[in-house]
Symmetry: none
Subunit: 199 residues, 4 copies
């Protein structure tokens, strides 16, 4: 309550830096950006940058927390909608990716994309893990270790998302989603059993 205005100032500075990073990413790609570029763009002192963030990656990560917050609802909500297939909020992700494709494309091929992948990956695996844990809690047995299933599911999603972006999104999100489900559903269902475990 007491530091209201100060907090505003701090938030403003952080925002300036985050915005500067995004605009620079769109201009020349994550890997080509230097800290100097960022602080010049943000009209901020060098030490101010380091007062707020550890380095460029940290700034990127902080930017992605917002992405996470935006993605969060998608990852959470669609779970209830369509309880049959909602292993992952895949459609929402394809749509979100399409909307933000400029930013994502700017980061392909460098360390930037890895940070993005990490954040998305955490969301995807958490979601998939919850899905399988719920299945188990209803008495199902998995013929394959759960972590492998989680990895496979989230990984397939990521692979297709990446391919789709790399190839300039030649199909609409809905169709990508159809194909994704068609491919993974078969395998996943094959390892879900009613009370007998293999491995």
């Amino acid at each position: 309550m007491e530091n209201k205005k100060v907090d505003r100032r701090i938030q403003r500075t952080r925002q300036l830096l985050q915005d500067a990073l995004i605009s620079l990413i769109l201009e020349k790609g994550y890997d080509k950006i230097t800290v100097q570029n960022i602080i010049d763009r943000a009209n901020v002192g060098r030490s101010t940058f380091y007062a707020h963030f550890l380095d460029k990656d940290d700034l990127m990560a902080s930017n992605l927390e917002k992405l996470h917050e935006e993605l969060g609802p998608h990852l959470a909500s669609s779970y209830d909608d369509d309880s049959e297939r909602a292993m992952l909020p895949s459609l929402a992700l394809f749509r979100h990716t399409q909307e933000q494709h400029h930013m994502y494309k700017s980061m392909i091929g460098g360390r930037g994309i890895e940070i993005v992948h990490q954040v998305i990956w955490d969301g995807l695996t958490a979601h998939a893990r919850a899905h399988f844990e719920q299945l188990e809690s209803t008495g199902k047995r998995l013929a394959v270790p759960k972590e492998i299933l989680v990895t496979y599911l989230a990984g397939s999603m990521r692979i297709l998302l990446t391919w789709w972006l790399d190839n300039d999104m030649p199909y609409p999100p809905e169709q990508m989603n159809e194909m994704f489900l068609k491919l993974v559903d078969g395998g996943i269902e094959g390892v879900i059993q009613d009370g007998q475990e293999i491995s």
Copy 2:
């Protein structure tokens, strides 16, 4: 013929550098290595390094060509052995990975692994592509674009390989292969049709 000895000398230098890189990778990981480290280890002058390679990545890539040559047979051969399921020489890859896991682990998490991935990726997709083209040539129709199938198949393989390595290979190669096939077979078969294409 005339430059026989000279060529030997050149090859020796290249070998020294490649060996130095490998030994350093095993020691501290690809990303922590500097050009200076490499030339110190190889007892080679700085300019000599740049006479042979563009940069560290180039040296790595040259190292991987050997890997490629080693992988090549695996990727090619097993195709005929077990014509029923041989979309990919998956078992051979799991086994090869286990043998070389020290080297692969050293490169996880950095740019190094990306170069490895690229090399393996090319082999995997080529193999998968050949598989589906053969299917098409026998009159089958694919309910999903071939490139997506290729990406999905190679991607799933890569995802599982990476997970396996990251988690210190908790299952034997044969079991990993079992699970891999169980997961992808269902989906793949679901999109192979006899004469009617959807998309």
Copy 3:
């Protein structure tokens, strides 16, 4: 009248800063101290420091005004005591230096000592100047410009004081004083004449 409390607060803040500086000087020497060190030690905000002092040197100077007040009597008094040799209150200075040697030693070799020197220097030269002016007023003539005499006299004092401190005061103040007088008296007397000026 109404600002009584405020004045107290201001004085308290100034005192905190001055004390912090002194304690830091004794710890690590004047030159190693930063403004940040001072305000941390004094539990004071950065702007508060700059509200009271221009910079570190200014704070030091304010501290030395107290020193000046303490030195003042020494510089003034001994003048009358021993009118024959009292060109400078040299014995008093050697004694004072010995008492405060911890603080003085902390400042040797940096800019800090220069500020101290400046303060002492002003006192010394003023005293010496007064001495020679009195001589002139009694009809004596100086074979060397008065300012050079003043500089020489105050400078010799300073040189010996500094040497004495640097060498951990190997002789007692009284002996130092003896030697100082022995050295300068000869030269000074040689340029004092009765009514004829050379230069």
Copy 4:
């Protein structure tokens, strides 16, 4: 012999840096110069600077070694010329100072001058020490510890030199030298005895 050309290159770089420093000192004074200024002026890379010198002061010191070499003959030679008064080559020093007064004046008031003082100080004290040791070797006794004499003599020289520079050299070198000798000779001779020591 073998690295002749390389040495030339290194010397050239050092020279470029030294010259750049001097020209910058004359332009804006020692204290205002940054390392960046120096390397810009010298057309040299930042790391090259640090490959040769520790910091700005180190570069200054290296510059002064040349000064020392130039001063050396003065300090040594004049000893024989005028064996009666040659405690110090004082006249040569006043003359040298006048010739180089632009450079010396540029450094007054900052850390630069301290380095100069150190170099000159070492020469002065060494010379004075040699003088008194020679005296002792001829059977004379000193009524004051030799180190104090050395300090006093070199210090008086330095004090007068500094005053002279600060006041824009109002008297010619010869006259300064006369006055210097007049002042110190009296005191020095007073403490030289023939075989009897006091302190």
